[in-house]
Amino acid sequence: MNPLTGYLLVAALLFSIGLAGALTRRNAILVLIGIELMLNAANLNLIAFWRYGPHPEALTGMMFAIFSIAVAAAEAAVGLGLVISIHRHAHTTDLDAMNRMRG
């Protein structure tokens, strides 16, 4: 098997696991964990294409992955801050219980 195919399949599997977690879990923090897994799967794709691409010395995929890691860190900080804020307001992190936007 082509080595790149293996990495792409692992990344697709990890992305689907993260998507399943984000869609099926009830706790808001677990949904964020699923989103983090999806972002990481995308990073694995970027690095694998950089490694097996025709011009690895151009560093394009590597730079994309590094910037993606930084953006994901910002996303995690804001997301968890929102969860803490909602918990203080509604005393729950259960997404099925959060069914109104008015406090």
Partner: protein, 170 residues
């Protein structure tokens, strides 16, 4: 495909599965750390040393700790009586399975045209941290500045959103 690849794939996928399936939220955060570590090892295996160590520092060092803090601050480790899965979990599972089927089909169909064919191992790219630093300070300096601004704005925003309100707070 080497033995290392299969070991890392098993570790990462097992960590990811445990992170979304375990009942106790703290256990989920620990399993998420295992998945992040597996991905960092994948990056090192792919000769991307800088990205691998950035993954360890940012994800295992910061994001996992942040998730654990959020779980403990929201008492999220208590398993709810109604179960941990949402009401429409079956639809979510079906959507995820469909997405994986489409992605896997696309990858397998395009295996012939992907770079790096079997039997001709591509030469290990020699990329030092010095090269990455030169690229970050040269060609990619504008994205770097924008990311710095984004991180500052995100951190200030996160602190403001999560901060106690003085009046009205109980």
């Amino acid at each position: 495909m080497s033995v290392v690849f299969y070991l890392l794939a098993a570790l990462t996928v097992a960590g990811g599965l445990a992170a979304v399936m375990l009942k106790n939220t703290v256990h989920c955060a620990l399993a998420l750390t295992v998945a992040f570590a597996g991905l960092a090892l994948f990056f090192l295996d792919l000769d991307a040393q800088f990205a691998g160590f950035a993954q360890i520092l940012v994800y295992i060092g910061a994001v996992a700790i942040l998730v654990v803090f959020a779980i403990l601050l929201t008492k999220g480790s208590e398993t709810p009586k109604e179960g941990v899965y949402s009401r429409n979990w079956l639809a979510g599972l079906a959507i995820a399975a469909g997405v994986f089927a489409v992605l896997g089909w696309a990858v397998l169909q395009s295996a012939r045209v992907l770079p790096g064919p079997e039997g001709t191992p591509t030469a290990t790219p020699v990329v030092t941290v010095l090269d990455i630093g030169h690229a970050l300070m040269g060609r990619y300096v504008l994205p770097l500045e924008i990311v710095a601004l984004l991180l500052t704005a995100a951190l200030i925003g996160a602190v403001i959103v999560a901060m106690h309100e003085k009046e009205g707070a109980k």
